[in-house]
């Protein structure tokens, strides 16, 4: 799916507005049906959702429609947000990212993610498996654990928004190697964060 990403722009523009309330979580108010809560949510997260969608979709009209769909989903799922598990930005970002990827998959006639209806009956809480603290600073500092060549691929993929074929062209590496290194890098990153979260771990320091 990385192959279908649209290249992102390079302008340095803040994604959150100057709204003084923008650092406060908005989803609890959205879930409670408070007036203007959804408007505040849009103000706070509109920029990042737009950025995520544009990374995956090059067609502007399609992207605009998808952003509205994403906010509908955010509105529907607001009561699932738990600030103890991840930040509001991450929660909203996950929804935006999933919807964008799903959109591309549907367009490509590939099987999409399972519907939520289909998984409801299993009664499994995936957060039982969550073992990392995705604090952005912790994640960024853990990137240093990666091998230099993998780190470079991470920069190209995440920082610069290049697709797998674009990375292959730039680095001369085969697509399969790029996939494998990115995946193994993600595994290594998780391992590093897990060790960092365990104070007595020998490699945590």
């Amino acid at each position: 799916m990385g192959e279908t990403q649209a290249s992102s722009g390079k302008q340095a523009i803040p994604l959150q507005t100057a709204d003084p309330t923008s650092t406060m979580d908005t989803l609890p108010d959205v879930a409670a049906g408070k007036p203007r809560a959804m408007n505040r949510c849009i103000t706070r997260h509109g920029g990042i959702i737009w950025a995520i969608v544009r990374k995956y979709l090059s067609d502007v009209t399609e992207a605009e429609d998808l952003v509205q769909e994403i906010f509908t989903e955010v509105w529907k799922k607001a009561d699932s947000f738990d600030p103890a598990l991840a930040s509001e930005s991450t929660f909203v970002g996950m929804i935006a990212r999933r919807r964008s990827i799903d959109h591309l998959r549907r367009r490509g006639r590939q099987p999409g993610f399972e519907t939520l209806d289909a998984i409801k009956s299993l009664g499994h809480d995936p957060w039982d498996q969550t073992s990392v603290d995705c604090d952005p600073e912790a994640v960024k500092s853990s990137l240093s654990c990666l091998e230099p060549d993998t780190r470079e691929l991470f920069d190209l993929f995440f920082e610069n928004g290049f697709t797998h074929p674009e990375i292959a062209e730039k680095t001369g590496l085969p697509l399969g190697t790029i996939k494998t290194r990115l995946r193994r890098g993600l595994i290594a990153l998780r391992g590093q964060l897990q060790r960092a979260a365990t104070p007595n771990s020998p490699s945590a320091s």
């Binding site: 990385g2 192959e3 722009g9 302008q11 523009i13 049906g33 007036p35 203007r36 959804m38 849009i42 509109g46 920029g47 990042i48 959702i49 950025a51 995520i52 952003v67 509205q68 906010f71 509908t72 509105w75 529907k76 799922k77 009561d79 699932s80 738990d82 598990l85 930005s89 991450t90 929660f91 970002g93 996950m94 990212r97 999933r98 591309l104 399972e114 939520l116 289909a118 998984i119 409801k120 009956s121 299993l122 499994h124 809480d125 995936p126 957060w127 498996q129 969550t130 990392v132 995705c134 994640v139 960024k140 995440f158 610069n160 996939k179 990115l182 995946r183 193994r184 993600l186 595994i187």
Partner: protein, 256 residues
């Protein structure tokens, strides 16, 4: 491969799933390995990928266009019509026979998806607040069908309405005056008559009425895509519902 090799490969594919770069063959491999290992793809990888993506985009993206901001603001205003009043919100269930039929198909695939959709959707199957969602449906769906329910026979005190959108495949019933049922003995079952799909009515799931006569809001959980439904029928059936209703106890009917 040894179990630990399989485990590592499973992790690798789980990371690929989070990065959305799995091929069809790899998706199958992930599913098979998950079954073999009794494991689910971990949400950690998706969290990490999302965090990295957000952090990179904070300094590398264009702002949202002003006209889209205005459109979303208008959209948000439309959502702000809340209040279920005194209505109780009822969560309908898939009929027992459907659960039996579906279970082999959902199995691992559904379980795997949990790890990646999970937090986003684990708490509620439908919208958080059906009255709100119904309000949204009214404002958004250009193809909204709205019909009144009429109680029949000994259920003549039943009333309410149903709204449905083919485009969004979403709908809600608001019902009043329906007697409380004992779920161990009987359950209410919704049927949707959609001649374009099938001659037989589509099963819309079963639900209970917990408080005698009080208004309830029931999201519709049709498991098949509907197109221009002609009627909505509520019957009283055995616990878990039935595959085909004999319509011995028809509670209420809403039709064109």
């Amino acid at each position: 491969m040894t179990r630990s090799e399989n485990q590592y490969r499973f992790e690798e594919l789980s990371a690929g799933l989070a990065m959305a770069d799995l091929s069809m063959a790899e998706e199958r491999e992930l599913r098979d390995l998950g079954t073999e290992l009794g494991a689910l793809p971990e949400i950690d990888f998706e969290l990490l990928a999302t965090t990295l993506e957000i952090e990179s985009l904070r300094t590398n993206a264009d702002p949202m266009p002003a006209h889209l901001v205005a459109r979303l603001e208008k959209f948000a205003d439309q959502l702000a019509v809340p209040s279920a009043g005194n209505a109780t919100i009822i969560t309908p269930q898939v009929s027992a026979w459907q659960r039996v039929i579906r279970s082999p198909l959902t199995g691992w695939a559904a379980a795997a998806a949990i790890a990646l959709t999970a937090w986003i959707g684990s708490k509620s199957e439908g919208p958080v607040n059906p009255p709100l969602a119904a309000s949204q449906l009214r404002s958004e769906a250009g193809d909204l069908i709205e019909r009144d329910f009429q109680g029949l026979g000994k259920f003549s005190s039943a009333s309410g309405n149903v709204i449905w959108s083919d485009k969004l495949q979403q709908g809600y019933m608001t019902l009043s005056g329906i007697p409380v049922n004992n779920p161990g003995e009987t359950q209410y079952q919704l049927w949707i008559v959609d001649p374009k799909r099938d001659e037989a009515p589509v099963d819309g799931g079963v639900f209970d009425i917990p408080t005698d006569g009080s208004p309830v809001v029931v999201p519709i959980v049709a498991k098949l895509a509907l197109s221009n439904p002609q009627a909505f029928v509520i019957t009283l059936e055995q616990p878990g519902g039935v595959v085909k209703s004999k319509q011995e106890q028809v509670v209420a009917l809403a039709k064109n």
